[in-house]
Symmetry: C2
Subunit: 338 residues, 2 copies
DNA sequence: GTGAAAGCGCTAACAC
DNA sequence: GTGTTAGCGCTTTCAC
């Protein structure tokens, strides 16, 4: 049997112990207004010795301000979002704000529910991944009355403002790079996730880039579920079995790209001579593969930082509402040099 | 200029729109008490069309109950914690509770601050990694008056209860396995993190296991910062340069183990003949390496689930306060068969 | 089945 | 520099 919950301490208890008014205690604990050093000491000592922890539920209600920033991302088990969160935390660290994370699992209905939920805490700002949301979600975002920053993507309309990269352009530029290196029989490998709009836009940009040069996308292969090395291997084997004459594989993320790379090397395929490879993300953790996989760095940390700066009021809402960062192409050594 | 924040809607607004008392609206929105179907419909319609989002700050204060579970973990950029969180979420999904995550960065001072912070929201329960906390943190945990589950580790005393595995035993069993396979010149590679108590305990258990058989640990190599494939390569090269005659390398996690494995294969080292390798965690994402790295699965998802079940009241607090799960040894093919 | 009154634990605003 | 009063937006409790 757990011992009965002892009534939690309140300001009143500290007030009694310190022999000053609740108001004074409140001021000391929040470091607000003028309080004499002596009183301050008394209060702090009393609060500490009692083990008082302020009740923010009450505080938030009274002050009508809650120092939370709601952050909504599709997934945690996706090497990219921890980086974004890192950028956000780093930038909020010297402010009173703190991030609260909600995971939407690439499901619009779930996003709507999580948003409703987060809004019920009346956060001071909102950061969420992507520009695509349900009607209801967009309505909630507009009505929130606090800064809303949509991150990762700039191809579309934001509710309030956006910080990200153009995935369409990433795809198009990768197409140009690949064509320029002389590859012509090109395949694409990615997740089958209609709701992963950024992956979709990269593919669209990629195909557009290819077809501008009159090159069709020769094959595509999709998978379900999380990314892993094995998935990359299986996909690669599958696509090359179907179309053995492909000379380039563009993966929608580095993890499956890495799996593909390992598989190809084991098969003795000449990389990048006979077959070129590229991924997406620029995941730090995966540096150290037998070859450096060509990829595009998605500026994840910077995106988090810039978004947080806006919400924290360190930076103004950008003109036009959009900050488009420039992704960095990392050539690696899985694309032929020209 | 952002438009001025419109006063957020309150129950009063919905009440006015629906033509019933605030109390009735509240009952409908919380699905409590008897409300006639007609009234219910009226209220729901009004709430929806206004775009009303309940204010949980006020609700929490009034009801003295907040359906949050505080979850405190050392890091997100560590393939293991997303799994734990997944287990927790899965188990809380059919309850009114939801997890709120705080990241402590393996820093006791930071853990204390995050804890203070989370307690100020008066959560309905607490799940936190590890059994080692500052005096102040332990005091707060004891005084919290809600279920507290310490996870990942069972080697030590819990404040309330614990769900985890014995890292000491993991280390000892790996030692036995390695010795049994005939390896004798054994090195250890891990992070230099005095506050990663679980890694420390694995090493202690490992050394104890070796020395029981009269085998000393022949070398150890530590690194700073996050784990990655490159780190694993560098460490491996370093330790083998120092002690070329080592015949086994035990890594404190799979990521650096994978880096080491790749490096060794490139050097043409016979794995597992001339040199055996093992990691720790059983990270799904890394299956698909050229060899399956021997490792121990840490039961991360189950740990999350069991902890959540206790907090949610689905399971009682365990007898003796501890649930020790059995980690699974995954032999892979980087240890010689006996 | 519905409503009215009181109050949750704080802080804003103002008084002294 | 410190205290008093009112009230944040809900839910509890009890009356009807």
């Amino acid at each position: 049997m757990r011992t009965a919950r002892p009534r939690a301490l309140t300001l009143r208890d500290v007030s009694a112990a310190a022999g000053v008014s609740e108001m004074t205690v409140s001021r000391v604990l929040r470091d607000r207004g003028d309080v004499s050093a002596a009183t301050r000491e008394k209060v702090l000592t009393a609060a500490r010795s009692l083990g008082y922890v302020p009740n923010r539920i009450a505080g938030g209600l009274a002050s009508q301000r809650v120092n939370l920033v709601a952050v909504m991302i599709p997934s945690l088990s996706n090497l990219v979002f921890p980086d974004v969160l890192g950028g956000i935390s780093a930038e909020l660290d010297d402010t009173p704000l703190q991030p609260v994370v909600g995971v939407t699992q690439y499901a619009p209905a779930r996003e709507e529910a999580v948003l409703y939920d987060m809004l019920s805490w009346r956060p001071a700002g909102l950061i969420l991944a992507g520009l695509e949301h349900s009607r209801a979600a967009r309505a909630m975002l507009r009505a929130a009355g606090v800064p809303v920053v949509e991150i990762m993507d700039t191809d579309g309309e934001s509710v309030d403002c956006a910080v990200g990269i153009s995935h369409r352009r990433v795809g198009a530029e990768m197409a140009a790079t690949i064509l320029n290196a002389g590859y012509r029989r090109i395949g694409f490998l990615g997740t089958h996730m209609p709701e992963d709009h950024r992956a979709r836009k990269r593919l669209e940009g990629f195909e557009a880039g290819l077809s501008e040069a009159g090159v069709p996308l020769a094959a595509r292969e999709f998978y379900q579920g999380g990314s892993s090395l094995v998935k990359g291997r299986e996909l690669t084997e599958r696509i090359l079995t179907r179309k053995p004459d492909l000379d380039f594989l563009y993966y929608s993320n580095d993890m499956i790209g890495a799996g593909g790379l390992l598989w190809c090397l084991e098969q003795g395929i000449d990389i990048p001579g006979r077959l070129g490879l590229a991924g997406f993300n620029g995941v730090e953790m995966l540096k150290g593969l037998p070859r450096r996989l060509a990829t595009t760095d998605a500026r994840r940390v910077d995106i988090g930082r810039r978004a947080a700066r806006i919400v924290a009021g360190k930076d103004p809402r950008p003109d036009g509402g959009v900050i488009e960062l420039v992704p960095t192409f990392l050539p690696g050594d899985t694309i032929r040099q020209v």
